[in-house]
Amino acid sequence: MLRYVLTRLLGAAVMAVLAILVVFLIANTVPGDPVLAQLGDLAASNPDTVMEWRAKWGLDLPLWERYGLFLWGVLHGDLGISIASQRPVLADIAQYAPATIELATIAFVVALAVGIPLGIAAAVRRDSWVDAAARVISLVGVSSPTFWLAFIMLAIFYGGLQIAPGPGRLDPIAFPPEEVTGLFLIDSLLAGDWDTFHDTAAHLVLPSIVLAAATIGLITRTTRAAMLEAMQQDYVRVSRAKGLRERFIILRHVLPNALIPVVTLGGIAYANLLAGAVMTETVFSWPGLGRYTFRSAAALDFPAIMGITLVVSVSTLLVNLLVDLSYAALDPRVRR
């Protein structure tokens, strides 16, 4: 078991170095001459100035040496300076990431909490109304455009019924809790500030549902299919022949097997939620990574884009590592 964990960790580290290489190569092969862009026509016509500028930014060094320097910087938490904000990229990301992490995590929990039981019920009562309802829910979730869903939800629950708060993480007049983790739910709890906690939670409801919608659909479908497949297996018939109760068979024999594919999907889904909140964040004015990405891309802010890509790939790797580890917990066949 320990060896399994260690090899997975090592694998993740190797993958991270590769991911950094890819990010580096992409950024350094983008068409366009940085000299021209930064110095302007006049200065660029003077060879001395150009040489000096290139030396200053290390552009005269061979590619692999620049990669070494870049890697060195990354290892020291130096992702460069954002052109747009003129602040270290890492500081920007640290500022925007908690909002996204909070939203994506809540959305993920919602997706699991709805999708898994719904999938189980749909499989157990196959072809009943539960199954039909589950099918409609997943179809709507998977096929409605996030953008559209976000507007509809806002229009109904905020504009129409007025039972949900508007966009943003907090009421415009409220103060954010004292920053510890940057996750408002946790920070407000730590500060013992119930009003802020409540306000944060209320603001999370609509965006997390919107963000979770597609994932709910995927998880429901996968759970249902995996349950149906597991229910076909011989050990289920053996369990019936043992005289076990149907409920026991479903929960203790079928479900543990059916969860294995759901875990894989869950990992991918969580990584997607972290990286793919651009639409939702835009509509709900959510100050998260999605909006930061959007802005940086619009401004062609390469250091920022590289930084984001790096953070997203590393977090995907981390999620995959978690998936591998939960595999080992669920499936004795992969343990060794």
Binding site: R8, K242, G243
Partner: protein, 671 residues
């Protein structure tokens, strides 16, 4: 006082509700099992034997439904019970063991819980009691280190071990009745012998009544005193097992008994087996008279119109046949088999000659750090095959017999060694050099369905190799050849336009044989060509192979695990263990006087035979290259000298064995 039967089935009817109408899978089956008694149910696939088993516990799934009759367990009607009462009986008073131990255990649940959960659920034990009982059960099932084994997961166990666990699950609550559905079909012969022996002992020790379902009369004869033979949903004969084997009173049972070569019977001069033509009737359109009438060689006029009842033909013997009820006796079939002088390949140049053949399969690394592991499939095989002979290759799974065939046909490239086919070295030859030889060296596989492209018409499947080798153009010439081929293997040439799924298993195997024949090969390597088929179909295919050999002078390399069939069909036999030849001898010699202890053990493990040597343990892992004598870990007469590998030496003309003490381990006398 009359004892109450454990199980009393009367006129049981189970149907499958299909779009085309109800299929009568079990149609009026009756039998009785007394406490502690053993009853076998035998029949081919589709005879209704497994559906009967599932009906007994009401474990049928849609669209199957019990529509009539009664099933009484210790006097209580199972069909009248509600689900809750039924559940209380299942796994407690009545338990069931299924065919495939590889899939019957939940892969993510520890063995211990799978053994104890129903003891606890039925209130027979507290979890702590259940645990100690489970461990002692594992011990009784012959599992070593039961305490440690209980904490493991199923994938850490071999097939034989899992079936022991399944039996342990079955016996956990000390049931009055155990239903076992083909419990040994997925296992190797030596393991099958162990499991059957275990079943017999458990019947004695626990006094549990056993209903054993199998397609193999030999297996049933090993465990059961009585047998019910099923055909087309009905019991056609019920009697003592020994009586049915010696003197069957229903023509179908007669065909069943005579379709299989028996290892104990003396060999005759003819290798053809009794094979009845045709197939079981379409269950949607059952004949009005006797259901066996369309295929029955003893049919009389009455059979076509009147359905015979199951009636007594002799004391304690029931049969559903007009002819035997009228007192007629079915003829003894001619003793099948062959004792000629086998061709010993010294004078003639062999068509195939294999020397020092080795194959290693490296496994993919499990992780970056793990060392690369290697399967040693074939570890130095020397063989010669004479033109026109049939060489049988036998051994348990993992002995390298399939790999051997794939090396000779160069589906795999050997790791070392030479293969000379008709004077030409093909062991290390390139694909282009082998291509012309491929034509002359064809292969037939175990699973005809997997090896035939399901989307192609049979005509195209057969024409494809001809066109690919440029032997024939498309169009009329190809069609003509296809017609010819289909006729050769006994299929209707008009079926060339059908797809493989429209054929039965036996017909599909005929198609694969036709495909192998298309290129007029000199030699055919058949890898378990009949083991997926029912016994009667097996006999048909074997007869076909014999005919073809005589007509075309084919050479066969016949890979099988069924020793009785090999003894019957093959001129010479090679016994493989862990990728090495243990013994190579003419068939008659080998079975009469095996030289190698492993051959003796294999022969004695064949079911339906008295005087068994039970081999302990299972073949070791192929991940380690064997040292010394590969068999010494299980050999009953192993001695220190066996640490040095014994060479394959000729001990009598044509009889080779790789053992330091050839012939010393005598087989028990066959009855």
């Amino acid at each position: 006082m009359r004892e109450i039967p454990v199980l009393e089935v009367k006129d049981l009817r189970t149907v499958f509700l299909t779009d085309a109408g109800p299929v009568r899978a079990v149609d009026g089956v009756s039998f009785t099992v007394m406490p502690g008694e053993t009853l076998g149910i035998v029949g081919e696939s589709g005879s209704g034997k497994s559906v009967t088993a599932l009906s007994l516990l009401r474990l049928l799934e849609e669209p199957a439904r019990i529509v009539g009759g009664s099933i009484r367990f210790q006097g209580r009607d199972l069909l009248a019970m509600d689900q809750e009462a039924l559940r209380a009986l299942r796994g407690d008073r009545i338990s069931m063991v299924f065919q495939d131990p590889m899939t019957g255990l939940n892969p993510v649940v520890r063995i211990l819980r799978q053994l104890t959960e129903h003891m606890v659920a039925h209130g027979r034990a507290t979890p702590a009691e259940a645990k100690s009982r489970a461990i002692s059960l594992l011990g009784r099932m012959g599992i070593t280190a039961p305490e440690r084994s209980a904490a493991r997961f199923p994938h850490e166990f071999s097939g034989g071990m899992r079936q022991r666990v399944m039996l342990g699950i079955g016996f956990a609550n000390d049931p009055a009745l155990l239903i076992a559905d083909e419990p040994t079909t997925a296992l190797d012969v030596t393991i099958q012998a162990q499991i059957l022996d275990l079943l017999r002992r458990l019947n004695g020790e626990f006094g549990t009544a056993i209903v054993l379902i199998s397609h193999d009369l030999g297996v049933i004869a090993d465990v059961c005193r009585r047998v019910a033979v099923m055909y087309a949903g009905e019991v056609v004969e019920e009697a003592g097992t020994a009586a049915v084997l010696a003197d069957p009173r229903h023509p179908y049972a007669w065909a069943l008994v005579n379709a299989v070569p028996r290892i104990g019977t003396p060999l005759g001069t003819d290798r053809r087996l009794v094979a009845i033509e045709g197939a079981p009737p379409d269950p949607l359109a059952l004949p009005a008279g006797c259901r066996f009438a369309p295929r029955c060689p003893f049919r009389i006029a009455r059979c076509e119109t009147e359905h015979p009842p199951l009636a007594e033909v002799a004391p304690g013997r029931l049969a559903r046949c007009w002819v035997t009820q009228a007192g007629e006796v079915l003829p003894k079939a001619g003793v099948a088999g062959f004792v000629g002088t086998a061709r010993i390949p010294v004078a003639t140049q062999p068509i195939l000659s294999v020397r020092g053949l080795e194959k290693r399969f490296p496994l993919p690394r499990e992780s970056l750090l793990a060392p690369r592991r290697v399967v040693h499939a074939v570890n130095g095989i020397d063989l010669d095959v004479a033109r026109g002979e049939t060489l049988g290759v036998v051994g348990e799974s993992g002995c390298g017999k399939s790999t051997l065939a794939r090396l000779i046909t160069r589906i795999h490239a050997p790791s070392a060694g030479s293969i000379v086919f008709d004077g030409q070295e093909i062991g290390q030859a390139s694909a282009a050099e082998i291509r012309p030889l491929r034509r002359r060296l064809q292969m037939v596989f175990q699973d005809p369905y997997a090896s035939l492209n399901p989307r192609m018409r049979v005509g195209d499947i057969l024409a494809e190799p001809l066109i690919a080798h440029g032997l024939i153009g498309r169009g009329a010439a190809a069609r003509e050849r296809v017609t010819e081929l289909l006729a050769t293997v006994g299929l209707n040439p008009a079926w060339a336009t059908r797809c493989p799924h429209e054929f039965s298993g036996g017909q599909r195997q005929r198609i694969s044989i036709a495909r192998a024949l298309a290129l007029q090969p000199d030699m055919i390597l058949a890898d378990e060509p009949i083991s997926a088929l029912d016994v009667n179909i097996q006999a048909q295919i074997l007869n076909l192979m014999l005919d073809l050999q005589q007509r075309m002078g084919l050479t066969y390399l016949f890979i099988a695990h069924d020793l009785a069939v090999v003894r019957h069909l093959c001129d010479r036999v090679a016994v493989l263990y862990l990728g090495k030849v243990m013994e190579l001898a003419p068939s008659a010699e080998l079975f009469a006087r095996p030289l190698h202890p492993y051959s003796s053990v294999l022969i004695s493990a064949v079911p339906g035979r008295a005087g068994r040597i039970l081999l302990q343990g299972e073949p070791p892992s192929t991940l380690a290259k064997p040292t010394g004598c590969p068999f010494r870990g299980r050999c009953p007469i192993a001695r220190p000298i066996c640490e040095t590998p014994p060479p394959l030496v000729e001990h009598a003309p044509g009889c080779f064995a790789a053992c330091h003490f050839p012939g010393e381990f005598a087989p028990p006398p066959s009855p």
